[in-house]
Amino acid sequence: MADKVTDKQLIERVKNGEKAAYDLLVLKYQQRIINLVSRFVRNQSDALDVTQEAFIKAYRALPNFRGDSAFYTWLYRIAVNTAKNHLAVQNRRPSGNNYDVSEIEQIEGADALKEQASPESLLMKDQLQATVLKAIEDLPEDLKTAIMLREIEGLSYEEIAGVMECPIGTVRSRIFRAREAIDNEMKPLLEN
């Protein structure tokens, strides 16, 4: 629900000609969509290409998005279809069984190089998760509860206020402080 409200405002901006608002949607959903596409497309480099294609397709189709469903649901369908189309094209290509050993080494080496060439792809999921979980463990109990209720349970501020028996303003502040604390731990990892 919260996502829907925020996304709706950003989509309105994009529809009014502000391309930059679409960047925010890409930043928001890129990890989720890469994760989704990776379930279909094993090769990391291909998964990134397919994800990129899905986002561009979604941008082009945005005037037709009426908002009946959540933006993520719509984007999800586009990403799945793009991944399936990619696989169908791959399957129609002649099989690579005729490569000799040196060619295979070259191809594998090229893939590895391509992946290393992207400086953004150095951070591993495990590293990030460990850092975030450590940061959460170090949070005061009230901040930890607030951020977990929001991010994992998906409760609204009003609902969290009810659970934690505090004003909505306090919930807002606690969630922000929790995010800031986690972000302070995470930021150096991403910058490196």
């Binding site: 391309k19 930043l27 990129q52 998760q129 994992i152 609204s156 501020y157 969630i175 922000f176």
Partner: protein, 188 residues
Amino acid sequence: MNESNKEQLSAFIDGEHDSNQTIDKLIHDQEMKETWSRYHLIGDCLRDNLPERISNQVYTEVSQALRDEPTVLAPQTTKRFNIKPLAGFAIAASVAMVAVFSIQSNNQTAPAINGGLPIAATTTAQAQSFDFSAPQILPASVKMSDTPESIADQRLNNYLMNHNEYRSTNGMNGILPYVRMVTIEIQE
């Protein structure tokens, strides 16, 4: 970016802060945009939505690709004219018009031809004034010895036959007059 802006951004991410100012800042302030990205990364991490390798490559390349794309502009929402109720109304009106005119023409033409004259007289007049392709049926002669009931039946039959002959030329009535004739004969 100050603490207040960050707190507003945090609330905006959760759909708890509705402000165009925040979106404006977010679109134009690179630092705020990076914070937006990291805050979402925290959520994805906690919900285990992350891919094996964290990459900003998609954002970079999509952003680059969209620079060459034409700007998306939503079509103006025009109120669609719903033609269905009007079409229904038009059909109903047409049917009503046809019904009214057919009834009117039947009611107007018959008295004008008969003109209140006796049946025996009108039958001849009809034969003269209309070019009937079907063979004419002459009025049956009335026998004085007949009972009042049979005289009435004969007159009614004559009337109906003459009337039917005229009506059958009117394309609008179709087979209905013949059905009436048969009904009378059966009753007899």
